[in-house]
Point group: C2
């Protein structure tokens, strides 16, 4: 037996955050990464962002369906055919502009097109900025569930134009804030007291720090799943009518309550956390049985054991000997579910 060990250079992604970036830096940035440019935009913001950008860059414009519909192999196949038809090749640059679903899907296409072409992400939702566009995960859905397919593929650059935030409806911002607050609870308490723009920047830096420290998700990076054990399950139970941000908000509150219940988090810390979140409602078809059933089948579960990321103070997730999560029994979780159901409006 011999080992094959190609030493592959680690990826580098440029992160640009600022105001008016879509107006200023972009052109020079793009020329560096590709000779021929394709702009791919979420169909619902084609006129708002896609067309002006394509015109500015003298690029071809393509659309993908809005939201999760973009995240299928069939939808990717269609985009791929269009790109080949227009002669895009190895030295081309793909720019994705849209929310997390768009950057997930276009990132996937870039990762397999001629075994990988240059990619630039321009997230246009808060959730996209602080979460989906950071970390190099691409994702597609199958009929068996969300995000079950994907690649790890690092874009050449991520461009976060804070001016885009002003175009977002408040509900959209609210949807992204749950991930921002999460980063404050598990990693950097400074996030919680900062101004909105500073919060976003700190949340992004916090996510980058966890990724750089644990790129293969064997330990620390798992803290990013805080709030997602119950959060993902609620999303699924609601058949994705509950938005990701709302689900993570409920899941984070529950994880904080559980942290207190298990004796890790002081009560006065939990009281502070409770105030960070708006009132919430559990999905109308929620039942405890459905919740447990769904959590047991989540890909984060191991051999059916439900695992939670827990905190012992605001800004600090518990290490649990490097696992950064802990198996929780049904009995341990019951008091938290009692509380959660009582709080639901």
């Amino acid at each position: 037996m011999r080992l094959i060990q190609p030493v592959i250079p680690s990826p580098v992604t440029e992160l640009h955050i600022g105001h008016g970036l879509l107006q200023s830096d972009l052109l020079s940035l793009c020329k560096k990464f590709g000779s021929k440019i394709a702009v791919v935009v979420d169909a619902s913001i084609k006129d708002l962002f896609g067309a002006p950008l394509a015109q500015k860059l003298n690029a071809k414009l393509f659309t993908v369906p809005s939201g999760e519909e973009a995240k299928t192999l069939a939808s990717c196949n269609k985009l791929i055919d269009q790109l080949f038809e227009e002669g895009f090749g190895k030295t081309s640059l793909l720019i994705a502009i849209g929310g997390g679903a768009t950057t997930d899907a276009v990132g996937f296409v870039a990762s397999i097109y001629m075994r990988g072409i240059s990619l630039l992400l321009i997230p246009t939702t808060l959730l996209g900025m602080v979460d989906a566009a950071i970390g190099g995960k691409t994702a597609l859905d199958t009929s068996f569930g969300k995000n079950l397919l994907g690649t790890t593929y690092h874009p050449k650059a991520v461009l976060i134009d804070l001016d885009i935030l002003k175009t977002l409806p408040p509900k959209e911002v609210q949807n992204g804030m749950a991930e921002v607050i999460k980063m404050g609870l598990i990693f950097d308490p400074a996030i919680l007291g900062a101004t909105k723009e500073k919060q976003i920047e700190l949340a992004i830096h916090a996510k980058i720090a966890t990724i750089e420290k644990d790129p293969t998700e064997k330990g620390l990076r798992r803290i990013l799943n805080f709030g997602h054990t119950i959060g993902h399950a609620l999303e699924k139970i609601s058949d994705y009518r509950l938005r990701h941000g709302e689900a993570v908000a409920i899941g984070s509150l529950a994880a904080a309550h559980l942290s207190m219940q298990l004796g890790f988090l002081p009560e006065q810390e939990f009281k502070k956390i409770e105030k960070l979140y708006p009132p919430f409602s559990l999905p109308s078809n929620y039942t405890r049985d459905k919740l447990f059933e769904t959590m047991r089948h989540d890909k984060k579960a191991i051999d059916g054991a439900i695992r939670f990321v827990l905190i012992d103070r605001i800004g600090h997730a518990l290490e649990f000997d490097g696992a950064y999560c802990r198996a929780v029994t049904k009995e341990e979780l019951l008091p938290t579910l009692d509380w959660l159901e009582k709080c639901s409006k």
Copy 2:
């Protein structure tokens, strides 16, 4: 601007070469890499190799269409659905058994299934053993051409059971020998004088050496394209009726002739090379215009310039300042085409 730089550990692939490996080592090898095993086999060798292997490993058996038909997104989608249906997950192992098309397609599926699950390749053709299964490239075809989609994904192990060679028809072995001889011409002259089994082993080690020295294909790894400039074009012109091995044989002869013609390769070396290959026929619909047109559109061409890997002696490709290939004009190529057409039976 800040940089995101996750340090990703380089991949390690175990290479096992020997006799009777399918009978001996396999079971223990597999248990190390996954808790639940799926065997995916080329439909045409399901009974010969797939079923016995699945039974031995107590694994589920799946088939993919024989040959290139497996290499489409639609075919992969079907396999993916079957795998989810049977509950394969993050800690499962996918074993691909078949020729290069099978390992290319199943490798692709493994690379995107839950963002990558463990993969073991068992090539059953000579071409698969010495070329397709080595180096971590996966590939799918589109209606625009062969191998236009893919990922770079390193299997946990490649298992080469030399006993399988005995099951192959001579034409199949011939098809693989072109890549073996190629490795002798560009890298290791010892390959050419060795026994068949030693040749195979040396050719594999030669390919591994080029990959380890140039994992991102920026230089040395390009020598693997020796014989492929004309080879790929002939395959395409023939609409893939000409087999890859036959095409590479003709392409290698042409590249050697060109190396002599341009004054790099001594004539007596070329004469030796000529004797390594059986007589050949150009595709019936071959014309010079078609050849040039196809070569210009190949993904190895840069801005329409046709590039050749050239040698200055048996076992040594020319470096050309680290490019390991050289642009060749139509005029430079004409004497070689005269010769090639004259030789064609």
